[in-house]
């Protein structure tokens, strides 16, 4: 499974969104399902799936699907999206 697929699945599970809605235009609070509670679940899911532990600054900064990719790359240089 590619990193992008894992990421999309994480968003799908955490935000309970159809895959068709998970793309680079997806942003925190711009979609009604990506609220603060869903954000907490998303963070937990990403930490689990990518085996990382985010800094608080990165949790705050993870404001979009694009940003999530950027931040994950910072933690694991071996993955690519």
């Amino acid at each position: 499974m590619t990193a992008l697929t894992i990421l999309i699945n994480a968003f799908e599970n955490a935000l309970e969104l159809p895959i068709s809605e998970i793309n680079d235009s997806l942003e925190y609070n711009s979609h009604k399902k990506w609220d603060s509670t869903a954000h907490m679940i998303l963070i937990a899911q990403l930490e689990n799936d990518f085996d990382v532990m985010f800094d608080i600054d990165d949790i705050i900064d993870m404001s979009s699907f694009v940003k999530a990719k950027e931040i994950l790359l910072k933690y694991d240089g071996k993955i690519s999206f």
């Binding site: 509670t37 937990a44 689990n48």
Partner: protein, 242 residues
């Protein structure tokens, strides 16, 4: 059930370790002193045939807390129960309390509770299940001369519990606090027999508390029997606060 207990070799922490060792599948214990922690881990492993991870952690060190949870995440991938017992009692009149004593008291009792909740809840969210129990004190509500900073820190824990219950309930995490009264532990060893007797007289039950009075309540709060209880502060004080 994966359980993390802080302040593990303190009186309440140790009693909690022994109580949870009977039901946990994996126990993480923390404290500041390696030797004490290792001794307790060995005792628990031998007595209960249970895997125990002893991880030295200073609850005033955010990096060490983070490292603890990294280890926890790596080993178990989940956390079901957090019992945060670590704390200190600062006893001195307000006008004789130095800034470093104030900061240490707030950091050890309150800030550490916040940091442990932050890390634990993140891990618990993976399974949308978890129970956190913090330790407050009768002093938070009743006050005690010479314990203003301690009382303020413990009152902070009670505020933390109320708000986090609202924040974390939706993701399956319950959080409560226990408010022990006068429990016969090292924290109160400086009290004379006469002073202890005076405190006992102020309780409805007519005696000071023992750690055995605390552990069944801790276990209840993390059990399914308490699955509809969150945001509560349960006094275990023999009626001292009445």
């Amino acid at each position: 059930m994966v359980v993390l207990i802080t302040g593990a070799y303190g009186a309440i922490g140790k009693a909690a370790c022994i109580a949870y060792a009977k039901t946990a599948s994996l126990l993480f214990i923390t404290g500041r002193e390696q030797l004490k922690l290792d001794r307790l881990a060995l005792q628990l492993q031998q007595e209960f045939n249970l895997p125990v991870e002893a991880i030295v952690t200073d609850v005033n060190n955010a990096e060490q807390i983070r490292a603890l949870f990294q280890r926890l995440s790596k080993v178990s991938k989940r956390l079901d129960v957090l019992i945060h017992c670590a704390g200190i009692l600062t006893q001195s009149p307000l006008l004789m309390t130095r800034i470093d004593e104030i900061q240490t008291c707030i950091a050890t009792n309150l800030t550490s509770s916040i940091l442990f909740c932050q890390q634990a809840s993140k891990l618990m969210m993976r399974n949308k299940y978890g129970v956190i129990t913090l330790v407050s004190s009768v002093v938070a509500r009743q006050g005690s001369a010479g314990q203003s900073i301690y009382g303020a820190a413990k009152a902070g824990i009670e505020g933390l519990v109320k708000s986090l219950a609202k924040e974390l309930g939706a993701v399956g995490i319950r959080i409560n606090a226990l408010a022990p009264g006068f429990i016969d532990t090292n924290l109160v060893k400086h009290f004379s027999a006469e002073e202890k007797s005076q405190v006992a007289d102020k309780t409805c039950i007519g005696r000071i508390g023992q750690v055995d009075d605390i552990t069944p309540v801790l276990q209840f709060l993390s059990s399914d029997g308490a699955k509809y209880i969150t945001g509560e502060v349960i006094a275990v004080d023999g009626g001292l606060a009445l």
